[in-house]
């Protein structure tokens, strides 16, 4: 039920109503609206009950296990939130002089330094405000680098077919032609395809490592050598950094530019459409092109580094420096963890994934890459189950909701038919993982004994199975009162 459907003419929430005595005589007549805005008319209690009920219908990391692969839906420590909400931070104006914001600038400078350390890059700019923006900026820097050398022949970006869809989209946005390369049977990039794809037109390679197939690219050093030898640069998509945090550094793997999803690996809330944050890290030769502002530090004083100091910068992405609140949460998270803690993140994320993978295989599920060790996530394929019973990955995902679990990622990566991409993350206990295995086993039995029941799932949710085809074909997103 929508809040509009609770609406009754004349019902008011007086304590929070705006004062209606204000006179708007300074606003030109042609800009004033002729009709009242369509707002719900509800009491305060109606409002509270409505939104509380909605929040209870929701699945979230605070209430349920949320093994959404490639999203790293891990628990966000409350301390990150409460400390970032200190009034001194909340009330700080982004245009406040450097002298009155030394504390905030110090936090941001330290965050830059910590991210440099953990990724092995020469410089970090905190300013991108989403993963896709970080990617865009990364590839813009690759373009700026080649242009600065007068190298105009590099028009192609190589992207493996297992990549997130944002990778080819980013390359196209930056004016490059995408050259897609295949994956071999073990889930690695096909080295012969890479060798055939590189050449004088290669501007760079975009790679996610561990890949979206949940495996570590074994040949990453060799890939790095091949691309660099051809004069291209290497871009690291930090989507899966959680698996190797502090253990393997993208800089050591040979990457020239990376983006880090703070809203995944560095534990700030995500999944609700933002705000996100995706700092970019660069190797030595890309330092001049970094987006500004960056925080500098000299003689005990912190200051903004701007276009003045970095004339070759690709510019600004917003009026100020990214999403301050998200950056602060990440800063607090990395300080709580420390360097050793980061190693433990990678170790437990990997251990949990491999434990769960082994348990599900023993329970009778088929793995997409059975010969490989999982990174922080792994893929189960229901291809044979679908052929035998007609039950699909989506059916199983919906049935999991009935059992109290948020579904894993379904149908991504698109390379693997009927797949579930499962990422438990390091914050889950063995008991939670065991309980999830029990639920998956139960569903496997249900698929054998009563497949039609599984196909009709969910059964216990506020809404039953939705017609997703109709919903996509007949988009109806705007609510209108019945009288219209």
């Amino acid at each position: 039920m929508l809040i509009f459907e609770h609406s009754r003419p004349g019902r008011r929430n007086h304590s929070q109503s705006p004062a209606t005595s204000a006179v708007a005589d300074k606003i030109p007549q042609n800009l004033l609206r002729k009709t009242q805005p369509l707002l719900p008319e509800v009491s305060e209690m109606d409002t509270v009950r409505h939104y509380t009920r909605l929040s209870q219908m929701n699945f979230s990391i605070d209430t349920e296990f949320y093994p959404l692969g490639s999203c790293t839906m891990k628990y966000n420590p409350r301390a990150c939130n409460s400390l970032a909400m200190l009034p001194q931070y909340l009330a700080r104006h982004p245009l406040a002089p450097e002298d009155t914001g030394q504390g905030y600038l110090a936090c941001m400078y330290d965050l830059q330094e910590i991210l440099k350390d953990v990724t092995g890059m020469a410089g970090v700019s905190l300013t991108p405000m989403a993963g896709a923006q970080g990617e865009l900026i990364g590839v813009m820097m690759i373009r700026a680098y080649h242009e600065s050398r007068g190298d105009k022949s590099r028009t192609e970006i190589i992207v493996p077919d297992a990549a997130h869809g944002t990778n080819p989209a980013t390359a196209v946005m930056c004016g490059f032609k995408v050259v897609e390369i295949a994956t071999d049977k073990e889930g690695n990039v096909d080295m012969a395809a890479l060798k055939a794809a590189v050449g004088p037109k290669t501007a760079g390679l975009m790679l996610t490592n561990p890949s979206t197939l949940g495996v570590f690219e074994k040949n990453v050093s060799e890939m790095s050598r091949i691309v660099h030898q051809a004069g291209g640069l290497l871009y690291y998509d930090g989507a899966n950094l959680n698996a190797v945090l502090g253990k393997v550094k993208p800089g050591d793997m040979g990457f020239d530019v990376i983006h880090i999803n703070l809203h995944k690996t560095f534990s700030t809330p995500h999944g609700g459409g933002g705000p996100g944050s995706a700092p970019v890290g660069v190797a030595e030769r890309l330092l001049p092109f970094m987006p500004v502002p960056i925080v500098g530090h000299e003689d005990g004083r912190y200051y903004w580094v701007t276009e003045k100091e970095k004339p070759q910068s690709i510019g600004r992405l917003s009026a100020h420096m990214g999403n301050a609140g998200v950056l602060l949460r990440a800063y607090i998270y990395v300080r709580l963890l420390g360097r050793d803690g980061m190693h433990r993140v990678a170790e437990f994320a990997t251990l949990n994934a491999n434990y769960l993978m082994t348990a599900l295989r023993e329970a009778g599920f088929e793995l997409a890459y059975p010969s490989r060790r999982a990174s922080h996530e792994f893929i189960v394929s229901l291809k044979n189950i679908k052929e035998k019973t007609g039950v699909t990955a989506m059916n199983l995902a919906k049935r999991l909701l009935d059992k109290g679990y948020h579904a894993p990622t379904t149908y991504f990566p698109t390379l693997v038919p009927e797949c579930l991409l499962i990422e438990p993350a390091e914050t889950e206990s063995k008991e939670t993982l065991d309980a999830f295995v029990v639920a998956m086993k139960e569903i496997l039995t249900e698929i054998e004994e009563q497949p039609d029941m599984v196909k009709d799932a969910p059964h216990t949710m506020p809404l039953r199975k939705l017609d997703d085809v109709k919903a996509a074909r007949e988009l109806d997103l705007a609510w209108k009162p019945h009288s219209e």
């Binding site: 379904t410 698109t414 997703d468 085809v469 996509a472 074909r473």
Partner: protein
């Protein structure tokens, strides 16, 4: 498995039908629509657009994913199937009659590079492991 023998195929799961007037009609295979699932949206190339071989020129979007369709050979787009905009489900109903677009080939001999039905069947078997 449904693979008509009178058509040509690509590794990227397009089917190609050489017409008597020298043009070719292009669609996606039964296997491709099966992998994608229920179609919800189709974007087709503008008539008159010059296409290179393997150029992305159309998009088929299902409830699961959006997939690019590539030009199997170089040529000029001369027609797009007008029915698919309102009824993308026709691709699911019969992938081989729900054509996407027609091309006038730059070079008729390019058709020889495409896969035969037998080759395509072998490709699918290999994809199955």
């Amino acid at each position: 498995m449904s693979i008509p023998t009178h058509l040509k195929y690509t590794k990227s799961h397009e089917w190609v039908k050489p017409e008597e007037d020298g043009t070719v009609t292009i669609g996606i295979t039964h296997h491709a629509q099966e992998l994608l699932g229920d179609m919800v949206f189709v974007e087709l190339p503008q008539t008159g657009r010059k296409l290179e071989k393997k150029e992305e020129c159309a998009v088929v979007e299902s409830v699961k994913a959006a997939a690019d369709v590539y030009a199997p050979i170089g040529g000029e787009a001369i027609a797009a199937n007008p029915d698919l905009e309102s009824e993308p489900e026709k691709i699911n109903e019969d992938a081989y009659s729900a054509w996407l677009f027609k091309l006038k080939p730059d070079n008729a001999s390019d058709l020889d590079d495409l896969l035969s039905a037998a080759d395509y069947e072998k490709l699918l078997e290999n994809e199955d492991h």
